[in-house]
Symmetry: C2
Subunit: 190 residues, 2 copies
C-alpha cells in the first residue's frame, strides 16, 4: 500500500532495538483518513471471504480494527490485557510473551463474543515476532471459530513472525513489509 509506505518513510523513526516508531499516525495519534484507506484495502484483499467478526488485542490494534470493521459491516472484539469488572469470568485466555517488556501477559476474550463456526478476521497494527498474533490465533482455536485470515498494517519482515504464521498455512496480508532498516532507511518487500 503505497500511501502507507510513503507515510512510514516520511514520519517513521527507528529506535534502539529495531523498534519502529509511527506514533504520529498509527498508534498514539491516529490518522483516521489513512486508517480508512487501510480498511478499504483490507476489504479488497479479503473480499472473497465471509467475515463475521473482527478480532484484535489491546491497545494499538483497537482504533484500526474499529475502522476496518466498518468495511466488513461486522462487530469488532478486542482481547483485554487486564482483568476488568466489564469482563466476564468465563473467558478464552492465552498467554503472550512480550520481548520489549520481557514478560508474559494474558489476553482474554469473553466466551460470549466468539462462537463456534464464526468466521474471524484478526487485525493488528504490527507484526514482529508474532507472539501477540499467536495468542489471538490460540483464542480463535479455543472458541472453535474459523480463522479466515490476518491483516496487519506493518510487518517487520526481518523478524520471524510473518514467516511462521504463513508456514502454518494461515492467510496473512501485510500492507507494508519492512525487510530491512539498515542505515536508518526503510526497505520494503516488493
Amino acid at each position: 500500500m503505497q500511501l502507507l509506505k510513503d507515510r512510514i518513510i516520511k514520519e517513521g523513526r527507528i529506535l534502539e532495538g529495531n523498534v519502529i516508531k509511527v506514533d504520529s499516525f498509527l498508534n498514539h495519534q491516529v490518522d483516521v483518513n489513512l486508517i480508512n484507506e487501510v480498511g478499504r484495502k483490507f476489504k479488497s484483499l479479503f473480499q472473497d471471504v465471509k467475515v463475521d467478526k473482527i478480532l484484535t488485542a489491546e491497545t494499538s490494534g483497537i482504533a484500526i480494527a474499529a475502522i476496518v470493521a466498518q468495511y466488513f459491516n461486522a462487530p469488532m472484539v478486542f482481547a483485554r490485557k487486564t482483568e476488568s469488572k466489564n469482563l466476564d469470568k468465563d473467558t478464552y485466555t492465552s498467554e503472550v510473551y512480550s520481548y520489549t517488556k520481557a514478560k508474559t501477559y494474558k489476553i482474554r476474550v469473553s466466551k460470549k463474543y466468539l462462537r463456534e463456526g464464526e468466521n474471524i478476521l484478526i487485525i493488528d497494527d504490527f507484526l514482529a515476532n508474532g507472539k501477540a498474533l499467536e495468542g489471538l490465533i490460540d483464542i480463535v482455536k479455543q472458541a472453535k471459530a474459523s480463522l479466515v485470515g490476518i491483516g496487519v498494517v506493518i510487518e517487520k519482515g526481518f523478524q520471524e513472525g510473518g514467516r511462521k504464521i504463513r508456514e502454518k498455512g494461515i492467510r496473512l496480508e501485510s500492507l507494508a513489509i519492512i525487510d530491512s532498516i539498515e542505515g536508518g532507511e526503510f526497505r520494503f518487500r516488493e
Copy 2:
C-alpha cells in the same frame, strides 16, 4: 439518543457496585454500526464548533473516538496508561484515581500531538466520578490547547462527575444519562 438507550435496556447489566456492563456493544465487543450513529450524533451536537483533534484515553474510549473522529475529519489521539517505547519521553502527564481498582495511574500524551491553541473535543465511553475525564482536561490545559467540549456515550447521572464538569462551565454532551438503576431498571434523564 433513543437507539443507544434501547440498547442499554436490552443488553445492559448491572453489577455489584453499580457497575453498568455493556460489553456486548460498547467496550469489549463493539457494534461499529451503533458507534457510527454515536459519531453522527456527536457531530450534530458539536456542529457549531471547530474541532482540530479528538482526545480519549486507553482503553475503552479508543474504538469510539476513532469512529467519532471520522465525522469531524480530525486525527484522534489516545492518552496512554503504560509507558511504551512508542511513546516519547516528553509528555503531558496527569494522574487519575480509579475507584474500581482503588489505585492511581498515570495517563500520558506526547507533547508533539497536542499543540497550543488547538481545538480539542474529548470523547469517552463512560462518565461516572469523572476522574479519567479530569485527567484528560488537565492534559489539554497543560498543552494550552482549547477544550471545545466533551462527548460521553453513557453518563451515570447518579454519580458526581457530570455535575462537577458542567459546574466548571465545560460543555458536556452525554448521549444517555442514567439517573438511577434501582430495582435493576435503568431510568434515563429526559
